[in-house]
Symmetry: C2
Subunit: 83 residues, 2 copies
């Protein structure tokens, strides 16, 4: 397996892994166990990765972090709305 495929697979998984969390939140609206601080910091970090990706013109960084940011902001939104 080409090592670049390992990196690409890693990027895809760490981007789309948040979908089950979003589905769970949509179904249960149960947010008590979720840390707002962790998810808010994560969103901040991902936004900085996006800025970095834009600055160096890296399409994989831009794409992965734009999607991840949307997913994490949805999680933060649920936490703020239902806690």
């Amino acid at each position: 397996m080409n090592i670049e495929w390992v990196g690409s697979l890693a990027a895809v998984i760490t981007t789309f892994c948040w979908l089950p969390q979003i589905v769970k939140l949509m179904r249960t609206r149960q947010t008590a166990g979720i840390s707002l601080a962790s998810n808010a910091f994560f969103a901040t970090g991902v936004a900085l990765w996006l800025v970095y990706g834009l600055a160096i013109g890296s399409l994989p960084l831009i794409g992965a972090n734009m999607l991840t940011l949307v997913f994490v902001l949805i999680i933060v939104g649920y936490k703020l709305r239902y806690s």
Copy 2:
């Protein structure tokens, strides 16, 4: 601000952002709202990032993902133990 600093700050934040979640789990053991699938996939993706970092010899990738993997495995452990 040098753009490399933005990337480094992004790496530090997306690594250590999970500490508040771990502290919350240690204090409350409340795991119901947390998605096991999301965190297990995230751990898998981070492990692949670590493999990729080792393969290309990137110290920042290795360091950040090794720490993140430890943090996320702690979260997965709490989820498995207290749900």
